[in-house]
């Protein structure tokens, strides 16, 4: 999965990438106060003395935020520590009300996890290590183009609980960076701790990138890329910055440590402005918050709350259902889809067909209607019954599709509907023989030639039988019976 880049001058450069991901935890209230975390409301309505940073206000940690942060850490296979410390990260910005962000510094909640992002050529897992997971509060939002010469500050988001997930610099290509981000998002979604949506801002990805000559181990100077709003943006930005760093070093220059921004419209990566020298955040333990203690009972409760995670499901799907990797990945895209697939397998008894139906007609319908997957009008029980009909040959594939569309309007037992619509395929020999006899009688010339050995007339005759039966005849069976009549 990771291929070094060979520059024109022949020097092989290795990409070294680490990702810092901020994920908003799905709690009702903010991390240090009881304000709602709901979005899309009028500016500053979800604020109180605490998240406004008013004189005399104090933070109190949200129990559910801790639970979700512990769960997220366990989902990433981290060690969750008995005790961790909140620290103040001090800097000035108008949407940072206290003039410091409450975060964690040298005693984070969890360390030493991993994410499997795929298989290597030899089949072994490609693992990206997670260095740490810590809790912190989100800042508010600043809008610079709404009013002339002024910035507009909205603190509704200030205080939303975040976990920051920092990977080791194990990633070696743009594709791996995007894969890691995708897998991470998937794990967080499965663990039910976050919406984890990059476009909506509940998942934010920053990339730290440096290069070094292949075969060396020292880390080069890194740059940080921010403002990445999609997985493909991650990949594009990394390619651009990699090329830039190679060009700089190849021409004898040196890399300046700086923050870069990805401009999606123009597909460029450019330095962020306004950096006044290096940052000195003057971290120190926040005296307003006692050490965060997590008991073994709490860790166990969150372990129990974890569903089967994507990697484990991936392995089990391949083993139990024998589906191709491409289909498995699609089915695992969301926990809801994967869960519904498994139910459908039980209802239908046919994993391959269940996969095709879910990934095909069901998803198409869901996407077209804008409904949620679990709000689709055809229940999994009904769909399973329909699949059974199709698998048994009682309805043709085409008929099944038609029935499906009808089932979206009407909740009715598929077999009953098929009968009503007259698409139940008839496989009863006597009925079929009767139709065959009629067709042969009505087409004596063709009949005689067919019986005499002209096999190629079989298709025409089958067609005539199908027409006579108004499509209800099982074409396979008709073929069999006709073939037996041939000489």
């Amino acid at each position: 999965m990771s291929t070094p880049h060979t520059s024109a001058a022949g020097q092989d450069w290795e990409l070294v990438i680490g990702l810092e991901v901020h994920c908003q935890l799905r709690t009702r209230s903010k991390i240090f106060c009881g304000c709602a975390t709901s979005f899309g409301e009028a500016p500053n309505v979800n604020t109180c003395p605490v998240c406004l940073g008013l004189p005399g206000a104090l933070p109190v940690i949200n129990d559910h935020a801790v639970a979700l942060a512990v769960r997220a850490s366990l989902a990433l296979e981290c060690t969750v520590h008995d005790e961790s410390i909140f620290a103040r990260k001090n800097y000035f910005y108008p949407d940072l009300p206290k003039g410091y962000q409450i975060s964690q510094f040298d005693r984070p909640l969890a360390t030493s996890g991993q994410v499997v992002i795929g298989r290597q050529a030899d089949g072994s897992p490609r693992v990206i290590r997670v260095h740490r997971v810590h809790m912190e509060e989100d800042a508010g939002k600043s809008v610079h183009d709404r009013f002339p010469q002024a910035s507009a500050i909205d603190l509704n988001r200030a205080g939303t609980p975040l976990v920051e997930i920092v990977s080791e610099p194990d990633i070696r290509s743009a594709a791996e960076a995007a894969a890691y981000a995708r897998r991470l998002r998937q794990i967080l979604e499965y663990a039910d701790v976050s919406d984890a949506n990059m476009e909506e801002g509940s998942l934010r990805v920053d990339v730290n990138i440096s290069i070094r000559p292949v075969g060396t181990s020292a880390l080069g100077t890194k740059t940080e890329i921010k403002n990445l709003n999609s997985f493909s943006a991650i990949e594009r930005a990394v390619e651009i910055e990699f090329a830039r760093q190679v060009a700089v070093l190849t021409s004898g220059g040196h890399i300046e440590q700086q923050t870069m921004l990805y401009d999606d419209k123009r597909n460029v990566v450019r330095p962020a402005r306004s950096k006044e020298g290096s940052h000195d955040y003057r971290y120190f333990p926040d005296p307003d918050l006692p050490p965060l203690r997590v008991t073994e009972a709490e860790r166990q409760a969150q372990r129990d709350a974890l569903p089967e995670l994507p990697e484990a499901r991936r392995t089990r799907f391949a083993r139990d259902y024998g589906l191709p990797e491409v289909d498995i990945e699609q089915l695992l895209a969301s926990r809801l889809l994967a869960d519904r697939f498994e139910i459908l397998v039980k209802e239908s008894g046919d994993a391959r067909r269940a996969a095709n139906w879910l990934l095909g007609p069901v998803l198409a319908s869901v996407n077209a209607s804008g409904r949620a997957l679990d709000a689709h009008p055809v229940s999994l029980a009904r769909l399973g019954a329909l699949i059974r009909l199709e698998a048994a040959g009682d309805v043709s594939n085409t008929a099944a599709r038609q029935l499906f569309t009808l089932l979206e309007q009407e909740d009715i037992e598929p077999r009953v509907l098929a009968e009503r619509e007259g698409v139940l395929q008839v496989r009863d020999d006597s009925a079929l023989v009767a139709w065959i006899d009629e067709v042969l009688a009505e087409n004596p010339t063709e009949a005689a030639r067919f019986v005499g050995g002209e096999r190629k007339l079989q298709g025409v005759l089958v067609g005539l039988v199908m027409k006579k039966s108004k499509g209800a005849a099982d074409p396979k069976k008709v073929n069999q019976l006709l073939a037996a009549r041939a000489g």
């Binding site: 003395p49 940052h279 003057r282």
Partner: protein, 114 residues
């Protein structure tokens, strides 16, 4: 450790204190004077196991001594008056500040310090 005028300028910048040059010399002297008294701390022997100043039996917590966490469902402390009543500048519900001169169009969250 000796504090220089450049140190004080640097620290004033970090703290957004806007000192003018005339204020510097007395501040440098005062800070050096104060910090001179702190040097005695370097000679103190502190055992590695000294821990925290707080009471070992955590009193700020529940029966197991764990700090009480807030229930996610509890409401915030309500504001007794509108933000407009105490904010220096607001419009359409936003707090207004002069725009940072170096801001670009990509949005602040990418340009912030962190």
């Amino acid at each position: 450790m000796s504090v220089t005028p450049e140190d004080v300028r640097h620290v004033a910048r970090l703290a957004r204190l806007g000192l003018d040059e005339a204020e510097l010399p007395p501040l440098v002297d005062q800070l050096n004077g104060i910090l001179g008294h702190m040097d005695v701390l370097q000679q103190v022997h502190v055992p590695d196991t000294i821990g925290d100043w707080r009471q070992p039996a955590a009193s700020a917590g529940d029966s197991q001594g764990h700090p009480k966490r807030r229930d996610d469902a509890l409401p915030p402390d309500q504001l007794a008056r509108e933000r407009e009543a105490f904010a220096p500048a607001m419009r359409d519900g936003f707090f207004l500040v002069p725009r940072l001169a170096t801001h670009g169009a990509l949005g602040a969250s990418s340009e912030r310090d962190a």
